[in-house]
Amino acid sequence: MNVGTNVSDDCVTEFNNLKLGKQYRYVIYRLDKDKNEIVVDHKGARDSTYAEFVSHLQNESRYAVYDYHAQTDDVPPRQIEKLVFIFWSPDTNQPVKQKMAYAAGKEALKKKLNGLSKEIQANEPSEVEEAEIKKTVLN
């Protein structure tokens, strides 16, 4: 349900820089409470590691797009690349209102990002481990 949260133009620009320009490995977005707008929080360089990405997911909710590359177990192995949308919504220490504002704003952001293949919702660190994203991409 789209509750009409604003999405800054920057969000789409940087998404395209990732998707088409291959400039980043990931883009992280946050909800600017004062402006009631989703803005870019952090961009990861193309050679960033998954661990670096996860280090940005702390006690506040975030949205992210990650350009994930995986190899299948086939012989010979196939290369799969997918743009994964990650909704990070930790249960601990976050006021319900903030969690809900993020949950409500998700659709508005997703609508603006064309070309997302998969989505993960993670509420605790184990749900956003690299094994989880790899499993999602390969299925």
Partner: protein, 345 residues
């Protein structure tokens, strides 16, 4: 809450309880029974005394009594209905009933703005999620729904005529004294809330009656009563099967998410040991690859008011303010069609 935020009224009018209050509050300021006396008195003080009839406002839906309840609500909240937008939880059985209520609200109660959304979606939001498998154990019926990105998926929604009230019956026998039916049920409900448990108890449970006498019940007796929610009979499959049916009927993409976001709401979810029993029962029956995970509310109290809290938060979001249906929009657009367009379901 900053001073720029506009306050609205949020109401969850259920078959047994009505809860109403303001956006931003985490507790409904007015909580009453969705029933009244023949002389239009509300509240358990009026309902529990005398031998006059206690009238149901819902089940079946009575528009005149409903209108009185709405007006009473604004009076009890201490505000003028003309000045406050209203978010009403949608638990209506038919579009026709909802249509009638919207008409009453705009034309008779005269609210300026309106919005409605399914109970299940509000219970989901109040757990900080937008996707979940909701088990709502109400008073007279239980509803299981899949909510995806805030939309309640009505095609897979299942309702059964078993709810918390049916668990009162075995406790009625302990209610002695001259009371009317309504009061007797309230007392039986109290005893149930004091004694009923799924947990293994070492000693027999005790409950002290108003006259000082104690009631004792054995584990076996209590289990038999509590298990009514899980056992199947002629018109009921058991709550676990209601949830499994939805899981099995849902598209693969959301199956996993539903399984890992199961939320039980409604007062009966607070019966000691209920959540554990639900978790184990569901996990044993769930399809492979689907790990069942129950999502908890911050406090047990939330289970009585999850619909209200969800509404309170939703209608306080600044991004939500553009979604209200205004009175003039309603009147100019041919009335109900605008509700269908602007309120997802």
């Amino acid at each position: 809450m900053n001073s720029d935020e506009i306050i609205s009224v949020v109401a969850d009018i259920g078959n047994l309880y009505t809860r109403a209050g303001f956006t931003g509050d985490d507790f409904p300021r007015w909580s009453t029974f969705t029933k009244c006396t023949e002389t239009m008195q509300f509240g358990d003080e009026s309902l529990g005394y005398g031998n006059g009839q206690v009238l149901d406002i819902l089940q079946p839906f009575n528009p005149d009594l409903y209108e009185n309840l709405l007006k009473k609500m604004f009076e009890k909240l201490g505000v003028q209905s003309k000045d406050y937008s209203l978010l009403l939880a949608n638990n209506f059985q038919t579009k026709h009933d909802l249509q009638k209520v919207v008409e009453i609200l705009f034309e008779s109660v005269e609210i300026p703005n309106f919005f409605t959304i399914r109970n299940a979606a509000l219970s989901t939001f109040s757990a900080g999620r937008s996707t979940a498998l909701i088990l709502d154990i109400g008073a007279y019926s239980t509803t299981a729904s899949a909510v995806h990105d805030g939309y309640t998926l009505l095609k897979t929604q299942i309702q059964a005529p078993i709810g918390g009230e049916i668990l009162n019956e075995p406790f009625r026998q302990y209610v002695v004294g001259e009371y009317n039916q309504f009061k007797k049920t309230c007392l039986a409900r109290d005893i149930k809330q004091g004694l009923l448990t799924y947990e293994q108890i070492d000693t027999t449970q005790q409950y002290e009656l108003p006259d000082g006498k104690f009631i004792q019940m054995q584990q076996a007796q209590l289990s038999e009563i509590a298990d009514k929610l899980f056992n199947s009979n002629d018109n009921f499959k058991g709550i676990q099967h209601m949830l499994l049916d939805i899981i099995n009927n849902s598209v693969n993409d959301i199956k996993q998410q539903l399984c890992s976001t199961v939320i039980s709401t409604g007062g009966s979810s607070n019966i000691p040991g209920f959540l554990n029993k639900l978790q184990t029962t569901l996990s044993a029956l769930a399809p492979p690859m689907c790990k069942i995970k129950l999502v908890m509310y911050p406090s047990n109290q939330n289970r009585y008011h999850s619909v209200f809290i969800g509404g309170s938060i939703l209608a306080s979001l600044s991004s939500f303010q553009s979604l209200w249906v205004a009175k003039n929009e309603y009147q100019e657009s041919g009335k109900f069609s605008i509700i269908e367009r602007k309120c997802p379901n």
